[in-house]
Amino acid sequence: MEIFPAMLSVITDPTLLFAIVLAAAVGMIVGATPGLTASAAIAMLLPITFYMPPLFALAFLYVIGKSGRYGGSIAAILFNTPGTAASAATQIDGYPLARAGKAGKAMKVATISSVIGDLMGDILLVVGVGFIAAIALKLGPPETFAIYFAAFVVIGSVIGNSITKGLASAIMGILIAMIGLDPISSEERYTFGSFDLSNGIGLVPLMIGVFVLGEVFAQMESRRKATGDVEENESEGDGNALTWEEYKPCLPHALRGGFIGAGIGVLPGLGSAIAAFISYGEGKRRATNPEKWGKGALEGVAAPESANNAVSGPSMAPLLTLGIPGSTIGAILLGVFLIHGIQVGPTLFLTDKELVYKLFACGMLGIVAYGFIGYFGATQVAKLILKIPTNVLYPLIFLTAFVASYSARGSMFDVTVMTVAGFGGWLMRKYDFNIAAFVISFVLAKGAEETFRQSLLMSDGGALIFVERPVALGFLLLGVVAIAFRVRGMMKERKLAQGGLGDA
């Protein structure tokens, strides 16, 4: 029950409360702006948080991530453009509702459902994280490496359209992380005689390059393909008000979505988009009015929105207990922990338990903050976004990327790394490689290597240690099974597509 004193401590700190509310507003605006993502905003703001106390920095970025997930629904409902991949499922029913003059109603359903899902996810995290940490403390290097291996394979193969490109992205992330001095023997790897490279590639410039500069490059290219101005759908008459009778049928869908999202959130790499679509599909299957889904059903907004946000809390569980980030936002937060000298993993709950629970408390207050702002001001936020001129916004982001990457360590080499990473990020976007798998693997690689080599030393060089220990073997098999399932799913899709063409 450590959460209650932590909550009290956060509530009585006005500066922290202000940061939470500010982060909720910033996240919502970023999430709702098409083309901008919470990951990009967090990467850009990361250097600024160097100068903040650890809890302040973590809470600020964590709440931006949460609020950004919710903010995506604003653009999905009002502009028919999902602000994030996860809100694409919300768009299916949200936009028809907006077209019918019920934009305000849809926004309120999205807000309430997001708050319900997110709070459910956080409560499950608070209840279960200590238990997972206790188990994690008993794992040895072979088991931990097997978990890393499973994470690499699942992240590489499950996200994105191509298994080979996903796995290749993950491997490239590992190779980039190998640049520099070997932490065990201090041998140089991939430095090619460069002193700068011997210090390795920094997480901050890499993140800023891939997420921020890469996005600016992509926007530059896609600017020509833009089809014109985005139209906002105004609410008419009673389209803004939401009664309890209207929300009542949505509640079971929101609660189910919360459990689906929380369950998926614990598994690294699956993410909120998958949770939102599974919840939407499951909701439609169980709905009393499935014929209305897709044409403007309020339940069709509640189900994906709740699941999408419920992912946020539980995705912190593998990060905090094992040091394995389940999402790109998790990978960036891991960087913040390391920058502030906090070792993430099972021992975190022994050394910095108070900080962790305070962070959870900040997350919960952040949910309340974005809930209030969204319920009463989502349409105002939408109007504000329509007024942001993208032809000014992206040049400013371009300039910020350079100064932010320099500020991280005051290193010009980091600025060069950021520029090259920006080019790499653009290439990966253009050729459908998997940026999330690349970044998460980059972050995981060092830990995976350490546990792999420790395991080899334990067994005197034999790789059989991973097969002899049942938990390790289980996780290795999990990776193989994940690939097998994905291949099977893709083959099924291909057969269906061929069948469909044949029928035509």
């Binding site: 190779l175 993208t390 320099y406 050729y431 995976a448 792999f452």
Partner: protein, 154 residues
């Protein structure tokens, strides 16, 4: 064709990575080889590249990809500006390159207001300088050839 090219590029990357891993000196007795993970990862990447090439050979041609050359040229222009901009920090510090690059990038993104572009020459470097180098206290990059900040401060 595109799938072949992607596979070939990955093969080149994996071969360079393999060669790089091979350069890592051998392990001392009782230790593990520092190149074992890079070597294994490069090998796995080489294998995946092979799979990609195989997959490409089984694909049927679906017509040529339509590429917007003007958009690609605009991107290349912006990337070149990015490269020159980051290098010019070393030569001219932060203020001067930012004052020059800000209106160029704004123009590339479609800003055509001459007053706006002229204002960006002063406002962009000033605002970023105040936020990062004054408020956050980061030490600004020093220009080896000429530094506007140094000149302003006398």
């Amino acid at each position: 064709m595109r799938a072949y090219a992607e596979g070939l590029v990955l093969i080149v990357i994996s071969l360079v990575a393999l060669w790089g891993a091979w350069q890592v000196p051998g392990a001392t007795p009782g230790d593990t080889w520092a190149g074992i993970v890079p070597f294994s990862a490069s090998l796995a990447l080489l294998l995946l590249s092979g799979v990609m090439i195989l997959g490409a050979s089984q694909q049927t041609a679906t017509g040529e990809d339509k590429t917007d050359h003007a958009a690609t040229f605009e991107f290349i222009g912006l990337f070149l500006i990015a490269l020159i901009y980051q290098q010019s920090f070393r030569w001219f510090g932060y203020l001067l390159p930012t004052a020059i690059v800000a209106p160029i990038v704004l123009y590339m993104f479609g800003v055509r207001s001459w007053i706006g572009l002229a204002l960006s020459v002063v406002i962009c470097p000033l605002v970023f300088h105040v936020i990062f180098f004054e408020l956050l206290g980061v030490f600004p990059p020093f220009g080896e050839v000429f530094d506007l900040l140094d000149w302003i401060k006398g």
